[in-house]
């Protein structure tokens, strides 16, 4: 077996520098992705009003009770949005996200005028499940630009308890 040349460490050094260059490129792509979906300077000044989050009856499509921030996993619930609080002509939608980041309820997209009849936005129980999964749920009213959400106009976080 031949004796190792002294500078083989340099080969390792250069290799890890090449890997690091690839790593920097990956992180730059990630940064570009972040800026694309979270573009700076998007504050329109508009604010949506979330009236509250209530127990929801899917049979009648109505809400009841008082505004709550915690629910049992056996309860169904929905957010009520006052679309008239928004200026006309902008493209908006409302979404529920579960703890895994999946969309589990939605209204829109459309203008506030078009969504006036969709004030109640319920969380939909995933197919194959009996109840909503426990965890933190986020409700957002978003302003869209070219179909992509660029600004959150209102936000509510509620907790679905395990027991």
């Amino acid at each position: 077996m031949p004796t190792a040349p002294y500078d083989q460490v340099r080969t390792l050094y250069r290799t890890i520098l090449v890997f690091a260059t690839v790593g920097v490129l990956i992180l730059i792509i990630g940064l570009v992705e972040f800026v694309h979906f979270e573009p700076p300077g998007q504050a329109s000044g508009a604010k949506a009003r979330i009236v509250g989050v209530y127990v929801f009856d899917p049979a009648t499509g109505t809400t009841s009770g008082s505004d709550e921030s915690q629910f049992a996993h056996t309860q169904q619930f929905a957010a009520v949005v006052d679309w008239s609080s928004l200026p006309g002509g902008i493209e908006v939608d409302a979404r529920w996200y579960d703890a895994f980041g999946d969309v589990v309820g939605r209204a829109g997209p459309g203008t506030p005028e078009q969504l006036a009849g969709h004030q109640v936005v319920p969380v939909v129980v995933p197919s194959g499940f009996h109840h909503s999964l426990p965890g933190s749920y986020t409700f957002v009213v978003e302003r869209l630009q070219d179909g992509i959400p660029v600004e959150v106009l209102a936000r509510r976080i509620v907790l679905v308890q395990r027991a």
């Binding site: 004796t3 002294y6 050094y13 290799t15 790593g23 999964l133 426990p134 933190s136 978003e142 395990r162």
Partner: protein, 459 residues
């Protein structure tokens, strides 16, 4: 400069205690301050269950930190003192582990899934993590790292690193959830958080090992072994956390066991090496390469490179996982494996390439030093032994011959002799490259140790 140490060191330094100990103390102090600050921040501002565990767990972390320090230093003391220090270290680590597990059980797992489920999750993750550590340690074919250090690395990953990231991730997630638009932007933010905070927390363990245990941290191969061990420890604790949490979430639907079982497979089988072990192995590789570089500037670049690759690899998995959706049918099972192979496979292949190169490089240089030592004729390595010592298979065959000849006692004696001879060759290699600051008589002591061990083995 050379006259400042007596006897002279290979890489002379003004004092016998190298400056790296100062750096190690500074890193350890930063870690402790971060732990204390995070615990109080969590408790005061978040008041979450992990926050309470973090606060009450400070004593456990301190006991483990002190115990591991005494443990790793015990082996550089003389035999009389070593036993005393090992007992002290064992008591401290034992107390710390028990206290920590108690806290984890009470505050985290038992509240989400109950103590029974938590215990089962721990038990099913232990064999797979143990297997991972066994494989990782065996990757160093020329000179295996001591189990005590591999286990210390894994324990750091499981206990200290996970504690370090709790506060940062909780605050980052809470802030992002309340300020960013949900979707890919938020996913990217969360991925940056996990990549940066978790790799820094895990990497600090490898940095400390590099600074404090230089004798056992020889090159890129050792760095990969220690880095992967830290990653496996982190993966163990993360697996238990996810399994218990998902069990609690899905159990009301009657599928808690399936959810926990899937997490176990994804993290402890499929992702055992394709995940945290790969990421943190890059940090170890960077530090291992830095170990053998001459200039401080190059050392800095190598270490930073290791961290960058680790963070990028971790980020790419967390951020772009959703771009590979899994169908809910039989083909989904294939997709899960393909996703891991496509997303993490290239990084794992890259670290394996570094490992193979490192093992070959190390092997060639050990052979060179074995030949030189044999040529010196001082009796520590005989000319006939060179080819055996240079080959892991030949060494194994020699040990098995000893086993047949004199039973387990002779097998162990031969193993100790081989290990001491390889330690001597490694010491010579580092001295030739001026990579060590221990005095020359350390090499002579290794030589005397080999000569002392030789009569205990069969001729």
């Amino acid at each position: 400069m050379r006259n400042l140490t007596t006897p002279p060191a290979a890489n002379p330094h003004p004092r016998l205690r190298p400056s790296r100990y100062g750096i190690a103390i500074a890193v350890a102090a930063v870690v402790v301050v971060a732990l204390v600050a995070s615990s109080f921040l969590n408790y005061v501002y978040l008041d979450t269950i992990p926050g309470r565990a973090s606060l009450y767990g400070l004593l456990a972390v301190a006991l483990i930190a002190l115990g591991t320090y005494i443990l790793v230093r015990a082996f550089s003391r003389d035999r009389a003192m070593r036993r005393k220090h090992l007992i002290r270290a064992g008591v401290l680590i034992g107390l710390g582990v028990l206290l920590w597990l108690l806290l984890i059980d009470v505050f985290v797992f038992t509240q989400s899934a109950g103590p029974g489920v938590a215990a089962i999750c721990v038990l099913v993750c232990l064999p797979t993590t143990g297997f991972g550590l066994l494989v990782v340690r065996r990757m160093d074919r020329n000179e295996k790292e001591p189990w005590r250090l591999v286990l210390v690395a894994a324990a750091w990953g499981a206990i200290v690193a996970t504690s370090l990231v709790i506060w940062g991730e909780t605050i980052w997630e809470a802030t992002a959830q309340r300020s960013l638009v949900p979707g890919p932007g938020l996913d990217a933010s969360t991925a940056f958080m996990a990549g940066v905070l978790e790799e820094l927390a895990k990497g600090s363990a490898v940095v400390l090992l590099f600074l404090v245990m230089r004798d056992e941290f020889d090159d890129v191969v050792d760095g990969i072994v220690y880095g992967a061990a830290v990653g496996l420890g982190f993966n163990f604790m993360e697996s238990v956390t996810y399994m218990t949490n998902l069990y609690a979430i899905f159990q009301p639907e009657g599928i808690g066991g399936y959810a926990a079982g899937f997490q176990w497979y994804a993290r402890q089988v499929l992702g055992l090496f394709f995940g945290h072990a790969t990421y943190t192995a890059f940090i170890g590789a960077g530090i291992g390469i830095a170990r053998q570089l001459p200039s401080v500037r190059q050392k800095g670049f190598a270490i930073a490179s290791g961290f960058i690759v680790a963070i990028a690899a971790h980020f790419s998995w967390d951020a772009w996982l959703t771009f590979f959706p899994i169908e809910s049918n039989v083909f989904g099972l294939v997709e899960i494996h393909l996703r891991t192979l496509i997303m993490t496979g290239p990084f794992t292949a890259a670290i394996i390439a570094l490992l193979i190169f490192g093992v070959r490089f190390e092997g060639q240089n050990l052979l060179d030093q074995l030949r030189k030592e044999a040529a010196d004729g001082r009796g520590a390595i005989l000319p006939d032994e060179v080819t055996v010592l240079a080959s892991p298979w030949q060494r194994l065959k020699q040990r098995l011959r000893s086993l047949n000849h004199g039973g387990p006692r002779e097998y162990l004696a031969t193993a100790r002799l081989q290990s001491a001879q390889l330690d001597l060759a490694m010491e010579r290699w580092h001295r030739e490259r001026k990579e060590i600051d221990t005095p020359l008589d350390a090499e002579e002591q290794l030589r005397l140790r080999v000569i002392d061990l030789r009569p205990r083995t069969a001729p």
